[in-house]
Amino acid sequence: MIFVTEVVSVLVTVLATRAAIAGEAWAFQACIALWLWFTVLFATFAEAVAEGRGRARAESLRRARTETQAKLLLRPDERGIWQPRNAADLRVGGLVLAEAGDIIPSDGEIVQGIASVNEAAVTGESAPVIRESGGDRSAVTGGTLVVSDWIVVRITAAPGSTFLDRMIALVEGAARQKTPNEIALDILLAGMTIIFLIAVASLVGLASWNGAPPSVPVLAALLVTLIPTTIGGLLSAIGIAGMDRLVRFNVMATSGRAVEAAGDVDVLLLDKTGTITLGSRQATGFVTAPGIPEGELAEAAVLSSLADETPEGRSILAFARERHGIIPPALPAGAKVVPFTAQTRISGLDLPSGQYRKGAADAVIRSTIGAVPAALREAVDRIARQGSTPLVVAKDGRLLGAVELKDIVKPGIRERFGALRQMGIRTVMVTGDNRLTAAAIATEAGVDDFIAEATPRDKLQYIRGAQGEGRLVAMAGDGTNDAPALAQADVGVAMQTGTQAAREAGNMVDLDSDPTKLIEVVEIGKQLLITRGALTTFSIANDVAKYFAILPAIFVTR
């Protein structure tokens, strides 16, 4: 479209110049030429602005990828012996040492050690994060800075194809391919351009029957008004703007295709913890054993949690304070702390006033003497059925009651799922909890379906099943065991904090490592399509108006 406009502009300019030289009336032609050049200018302008914004971002990334010296280990087990090596010369599989103050030379996997790393160069977040070997936080990104301790990194990316390189290429638009819908729209617009080209060209023949045909500048003006220049000029700008929007959202997409696919998603696979729920269980209620005042239970619960630094323990203190105004006392001298272990599953505090214990229901009940009140047993079962965790509190072996710990569903998430449902997107909660707990949380959060006791295989199978029915699936994940599912999903958003395997398997990386963003990604994908669709419709419908304005102007005067 732009190309046609350019050709026409040149043509009319030449005609106007020729008329001016020959001393004929040239002002009208010159006006049209000027107007055509403005069309070309503005069509290119939008694209240039969008591209410029991307380039600025790439520049700031490039600064992070300064030439670094790597400490290449010669022997894997001895980190004392290393050789300085240029980062660009590192090979995949090489082991490098990064100590406090070093910049990690390339993407890799920590094989040894633990360190805090400042990843501001990539994520923009300046608070350092902990990276350690093994587990789901073993990936490091080239260009980030080790703040403390040391790590041994196995290089996993060849020079030029590191995460940072890919990001730069992406925002610069070097790797920007047209998305499938954009290609389809391009074809339709090209078709319309050809159709109007035929319509305008045929006017020469048709109009000559009743007299002289309209002059070339007039026909050129008609053509440019009719062909879809507006949308044609904006199409690539919309694509760039869409990517740019993701970048500002701190999500890196490996291709525009993935962004567009996000708009098409029918099924969202969301991890329960951290996405749907806050991820830490919080005390939300006391259930007393028969004959025990709630104040007594609350006080015992507070005392048993005094030394408990876990979020659950803190939440009991906060809840008791809120409900009963109990200000937690300072840890009294001579108190004996009973720490939580995986074997006993009980923690507490021994004070002169008594032994305060709290813990998993069955563990605490087993440790007590005497009959368990039926009402308490029922209460414990009820709490478990609702998807919460009951902690039973005892003082000197006497059961006082239970504290209900609940995994709190994020505020507003239910409404969001409702909005997604209206867009036709099914939300599926993935959790390692048992079916009972999962069902309860699923109901509370308002998801459409859930996968309980999910193994990586279960996820993969669920995705394959949905895809087999013709649905598009999006998921977020971070662990290595998520990698197969991320690769299988149509849109896989990997967390920046996740493992290298997960980051490679997904087609987007969330630099903030916030799985909730999956929802925003879907919305951006949709908006991208909507903008294009709306502009196309406007452009096509606008042609009708243009016709009625221009055709009389051309023919009626004659």
Binding site: P180, N181, I183, A184, L185, I187, L188, A190, G191, M192, I194, I195, F196, I198, A199, V200, A201, S202, L203, V204, G205, L206, A207, S208, W209, N210, E260, G263, D264, D266, R421, Q422, M423, G424, I425, R426, E469, G470, R471, G525, K526, Q527, L528, L529, I530, R532, G533, A534, T536, T537, I540, A541, D543, V544, Y547, L551, F555
Partner: protein, 565 residues
């Protein structure tokens, strides 16, 4: 316009829709091979041709079979027309047609256009009519319906390659749908006075003592299929305006019914094949809406009459009756014209050349919109589906999803092919008309001066390219240039459109059928119908606006200004 006039129009359309409902169901049953009451004849054909009706064909196989059948039909018809002088059943002793005329006529009947550069009673023997033209009336219609069925099947299931068997569809449609309907309609026409005889022409002495030759022939059943198959090639030169071809208002009403019932029914067949009748109903409603609007347009323009004639003292109460038969009346002429051009039939029961400029603009524009309202048998449906895909594409983007229709994603490949298909019509019509308007050999065929001359030429190429076949009149069409280029126009639209459509069907058939969700854009509601109508008008019609401005509209304003040519 009168109330009784509108009552006539409403009555005919109600009968059409009422018949389309069971017929749509019946054709769906035929398509799936569930109709068997002529099984012996069917099996005979399959066995003779060595066809296994159960063996599916992919889109290429299906399209090639269709092309082969049509190519054979062309060769046969061309031979008959050239050789009719030596063949039997030629009581008037007509010579063989000239090669240009035979080429044009053979192409015309094979492509379901039935543009006639000849006059039936003056140039064609009974054998040519029956064994040549009438046979192609059946076969071209069956080809179109078969293709529409194949395209419909592409939307029915996911992940298939096969679209059915062309030979099976072709045979079954002819045997179970077209033949029985033609027998019924033919008998009705015979009862109303249309001749069906092998006897030669009759010579009568008129009251003034002059001698008049009255042409006869085996007309009734050929006329029946002419309308049922939306072919439109008249047995007699002036088509359904001829007293033997359209003897009465009832006969003309039957013909209107016959030329629209199958295209409308096929919408519902489509709905049944894709297991969602609402989709078919939506297409039918859009088509019916356009037919009504077009009828109203023609009726209003013709009933208003010509202001120049009114000035001369002609009573405007009758409207513009020039070129119209009193026995049909204005409303049935308007409905006949709207349906014959909307349905790609091309039969006429009045002379379009004598219409008011705006009355003539409506049929012209209806053809230019791509012959989908309701379009020819089969071709109307698959043409409409192309517009549906384009509408869905634009609308789908607006709801923020990759566009899909009936669960099939519409992507670059489909849009490319659909755009290609949509390009053919304007390129052919506008390109050839523009060239002809400056070519002396072509301009000499034009009878009228002024904008009306342009309308005549524009209509000829529009009619041929749209595979309509109706004549505006006033154009000497039997010249090598017009015979040749009009034949090319007919071939281009018919086959350069069919093949991309089949490719779309092949590509869609292979896609998985995504289940509908709350985010799916509903394609059966009024919103979509409105959008579809808009896309047809804008993508299908906008490019023709300049030509219409220079032709009919210029003439209209000239008349208002009191200017004649």
């Amino acid at each position: 316009m009168t109330l009784i006039g509108w009552a006539q129009i409403a009555l005919v359309l109600i009968l059409v829709v009422a018949a389309a409902v069971p017929l749509g169901r019946y054709i769906a049953a035929v398509a799936s091979g569930r109709v068997t009451w002529l099984r012996p004849a069917e099996v005979l054909f399959f066995r003779a041709a060595g066809v296994d009706p159960e063996r599916g064909q992919d889109w290429r196989g299906y399209a090639l079979a269709m092309l082969a059948a049509n190519a054979a039909g062309f060769v046969l018809l061309f031979a008959i027309l050239r050789l009719q002088g030596m063949l039997p059943l030629n009581p008037q002793g007509f010579d063989g047609m000239s090669s240009w005329l035979a080429f044009n006529t053979a192409v015309s009947f094979v492509t379901n256009t039935n543009w006639q550069a000849y006059s039936g009673e003056a140039a064609v023997s009974y054998l040519s009519q029956m064994a040549g033209l009438a046979v192609q009336n059946f076969l071209s219609a069956a080809s179109g319906i078969a293709l529409a069925l194949a395209v419909s099947r592409a939307f029915a299931r996911g992940g298939v390659r096969e679209l059915g068997n062309f030979w099976a569809d072709f045979t079954r449609i002819t045997l179970y749908v077209l033949l029985p309907l033609a027998v019924v309609v033919g008998l009705a026409l015979v009862a109303l006075g249309v001749p069906q005889t092998f006897a030669g022409y009759v010579t009568a002495t008129t009251l003034e003592g002059a001698e008049q030759v009255i042409p006869l022939g085996p007309a009734a059943f050929q006329i029946a299929i002419k309308h049922l198959g939306t072919n439109g090639g008249g047995f007699f030169g002036v088509n359904s305006a001829h007293p033997f071809e359209g003897p009465s208002a009832v006969a003309t009403a039957i013909q209107i019914w016959a030329q629209t019932v199958i295209p409308f029914a096929l919408c519902l067949t489509f709905g049944r094949i894709v297991s969602d009748l609402r989709q078919g109903r939506a297409l039918l409603v859009v088509m019916l809406g356009f037919v009504l609007a077009a009828t109203a347009g023609i009726y209003a323009a013709e009933a208003a009459g010509n202001p120049l004639m009114t000035e001369l003292g002609v009573d405007p109460a009758m409207g513009n009756m020039e070129g119209k038969e009193i026995r049909f009346g204005m409303p049935l002429v308007a409905l006949f014209t709207a349906t014959t051009t909307g349905a790609s039939c091309g039969a006429v029961n009045a002379m379009l050349d004598s219409f008011t400029p705006l009355g003539g603009l409506v049929p012209l524009f209806l053809i230019q919109l791509g012959e989908v309202l309701p379009g020819g048998v089969g071709s109307g449906l698959y043409g409409m589906l192309v517009f549906v895909l384009l509408s869905v594409f634009v609308a789908g983007l607006m709801v923020g999803r990759t566009p899909e229709y009936l669960g099939k994603k519409v992507q670059a490949r489909e849009i490319k092919l659909a755009t290609l298909g949509v390009l053919v019509l304007p390129a052919t019509i506008l390109g050839l008309t523009a060239v002809s308007m400056v070519l002396p050999a072509a301009v000499s065929s034009i009878a009228a001066a002024g904008p009306h001359g342009l309308s005549e030429m524009l209509y000829a190429y529009t009619s041929a390219a749209g595979n309509n076949g109706s004549a505006f009149g006033g154009l000497t069409a039997d010249t090598p240039w017009l015979n040749g280029t009009l034949a090319i126009a007919m071939l281009l639209w018919r086959f350069a459109f069919m093949v991309p459509v089949m490719a779309i069907a092949g590509s869609l058939a292979g896609k998985v059928k995504a289940p509908a969700s709350a985010g799916t854009f509903p394609t059966h509601g009024p919103l979509f119908m409105g959008l579809l109508a808009g896309v047809i008008l804008i993508l299908g019609g906008l490019q023709f606006l300049p030509s219409l401005v220079l032709g009919p509209l210029a003439e209209h304003f000239a008349i208002l200004a009191g200017k004649t040519f």
